[in-house]
């Protein structure tokens, strides 16, 4: 009786082969095209602006807290944020929140495009509720800038300290008049041999910048017009690697049969630090391995995985890399990787790591219907004290064969999302796959999750065993048919 029910379900599974259609939610990659002579309408003014630039990590993290006021006669909801076009392509993870409502979702932000030759490009911030005339709102705009630090000098000796230079505008980028503003720069060290001193004193009539230990303050400045720029730069000690991943491919594979979530990350790393002035000396490198002085070479990567991760592997172009450690217990699952060689400035290293996890911690089934909801980290990868930056992240979420009606949601800004088919072991039609692309991410984003829902009828799950069943059953039938041929050359037995 049960086998009949099973057979029926198998037939349904086979019949749904052609019915598997993907239904995918659209991504956030929309762009608004504006005319070439576009200028942001002067409907806002910045009453007070404080910009904080944190240089602790290898990527500057900017937080702009600004009180904006609507000076137009109508309610306004579109606030423009200008960037120089070469900078815009390196700005990542731009998030805007209401400073006074911290728990709320970030505002909708998009890049507007009007003339690709223009030196200024804009981010458009949509205020969730239009700001009434004369009303004020406090925005908290945060973003990080990739590939922003330049080693000066560009070549150093193996054991030398490294100095990097960061160039920025003392005036915060703004498309509106700013009544009062200042820029605070927090350096990781007090060893700052060179920095720009502005000729004109600031609004308080004191020297510009003001120094307090490792924190510099440019400003305050009064009544700065829209689009004004005052380039300054600082050179400070940063004897740490500038780890830059040109590409990270991350695959997450869901297996209902195996109850497993398999993750694989493929890295293409490079170190943007100062290059070696002379040849690499293995002897002097080995001599420093006990004292462990700061170095601009990348020696190891620490990857804290989710608790319960299993079976890690670490492979590069040559094969398995044995210099890794995995410590897993009820409180942590730390994967510590050591590349085959220290990665000095300008050197590259590409490798792949992967691990398994129990699916029950990441997948839930809705009470009604055959809908499943999956929640996985968008980005894992290494967590380094100096940070890691990713120019491009391509995430593939491979769902079981026959999953349909796929929707996803994440707070990570995506540039592309598409549904594809991934074909691998024992597949007949291929697995439904969600292919997401994000650019300019940094390792701070590794705690962000992505939630995916999909329909997966239980009949679709039987596709794999049924295919094997049919093949073997066919084989038996062929054996029976061929075996029943009488190919003997003697007389036919009559009895």
């Amino acid at each position: 009786m049960r086998s009949i029910a099973l057979l029926t379900s198998c037939l349904i599974a086979l019949s749904s082969l052609c019915a598997a259609e993907l239904n995918l939610t659209q991504s956030l990659s929309s762009k608004q095209i504006l005319p070439a002579n576009f200028k942001p309408p002067q409907v806002f003014k910045n009453v007070n602006l404080v910009r904080t630039t944190n240089l602790d990590k290898e990527y500057p993290r900017e937080v702009i807290n600004v009180i904006i006021e609507n000076i137009d006669s109508k309610p306004q909801s579109e606030y423009y944020l200008p960037f120089e076009s070469s900078l815009l392509s390196r700005v990542g993870g731009l998030e805007v929140k209401d400073k006074k409502a911290a728990g709320k979702l970030p505002f909708k932000v998009e890049v507007v495009e009007y003339d690709s030759y223009s030196s200024t490009q804009f981010y458009l911030i949509h205020l969730p509720e239009p700001l009434q005339p004369k009303a004020q709102q406090t925005l908290s705009i945060s973003f990080s800038v990739l590939s922003a630090l330049t080693p000066v000098p560009a070549t150093i000796n193996q054991m030398d300290n490294q100095y990097v230079q960061y160039t920025f505008s003392a005036y915060s980028p703004s498309a509106y008049t700013t009544e009062k503003q200042k820029t605070k720069v927090k350096f990781p060290t007090a060893n700052i041999p060179d920095y720009s001193v502005l000729d004109a004193p600031n609004a308080d009539n004191t020297e510009d910048p003001q120094k307090q230990g490792s924190t510099f303050t440019y400003g305050p400045y009064a009544n700065i017009p829209a689009g004004a720029e005052e380039l300054v730069s600082a050179r400070y000690e940063f004897t740490k690697p500038l780890t830059h991943a040109t590409l990270l491919e991350r695959d997450i594979e869901v297996s209902h049969w195996g109850g497993n979530l398999a993750t694989e990350e493929r890295f293409w790393l490079t170190n943007r630090a100062a290059t070696l002035a002379n040849q690499f000396s293995r002897v002097s490198w080995q001599m420093t391995q006990y004292s462990n002085p700061p170095t601009s070479a990348l020696k190891g990567l620490a990857m804290p995985l989710r608790i319960g991760s299993l079976n890690p592997y670490f492979i590069d172009d040559i094969g398995n890399v044995s210099t890794s450690r995995f410590r897993s217990n009820a409180r942590e699952a730390n994967l510590e990787l050591k590349p085959r060689y220290p990665i000095f400035g300008g050197w590259k290293y590409s490798f792949r790591v992967g691990w398994d996890a129990d699916l029950k911690n990441y997948l839930r089934k809705l009470k009604t219907g055959d809908t499943y909801v999956l929640k996985v980290p968008f980005l894992e990868g290494p967590r380094q004290p100096e940070g890691v930056e990713y120019a491009r992240v391509e995430l593939k979420i491979v769902l079981p064969e026959g999953a349909t009606n796929i929707h996803h949601e994440t707070s990570v800004p995506l540039v592309a999302s598409e549904a594809t088919i991934h074909r691998t072991f024992m597949d007949t039609i291929g697995r439904s796959t969600l292919h997401l692309t994000a650019i300019n991410l940094v390792d701070e984003w590794r705690d962000r999750d992505i939630v995916v829902t999909y329909d997966y009828p239980w009949t679709a799950g039987f596709r794999k065993p049924i295919v094997i069943f049919s093949a073997l059953m066919g084989l038996f039938t062929v054996v029976y048919v061929i075996g029943s041929f009488d190919v003997s050359i003697g007389k036919k037995k009559t009895a």
Binding site: S3, L6, G103, K104, L105, E253, S255, H256, W257, G258, G259, N260, A262, N311, D356, D358, L359, K360, N361, L363, R364, K365, L366, K367, Y372, V373, K375, H407, H408, E409, T424, F425, M426, D427, V451, V452, T453, K464, P465, I466, V467, I468, F469, S470, L472, M473, F476, T477, V479, Y480, G483, S484
Partner: protein, 79 residues
């Protein structure tokens, strides 16, 4: 923070996904099913007839189908 799919995730907190066969027993289940398929195939091979084709062939094929899936999972290729 609230958003529709996160709410769905929270709403389903009582029902984490449980596979029919847990990871620890995949190898045993797969091995038993494959062995059953092997024996039934052997018996069918010795005694081929129109009756034994469905009587032995169908259970052997089913056992091989599910056994193969579980054995492949057990050795680390999570299909």
């Amino acid at each position: 923070m609230s958003s529709p799919l996160h709410d769905i995730w929270e709403a389903a907190s009582a029902s984490p996904y449980q596979p029919a066969v847990s990871k620890d027993s995949q190898f045993v289940v797969g091995a038993v099913l494959l062995f059953t398929a092997f024996i039934l195939t052997g018996v069918f091979g010795l005694n081929r007839s129109i009756v034994t084709l469905p009587v032995l062939g169908v259970p052997a094929s089913l056992a091989f189908g599910f056994g193969a899936v579980y054995m492949i999972c057990a050795v680390g290729v999570y299909v």
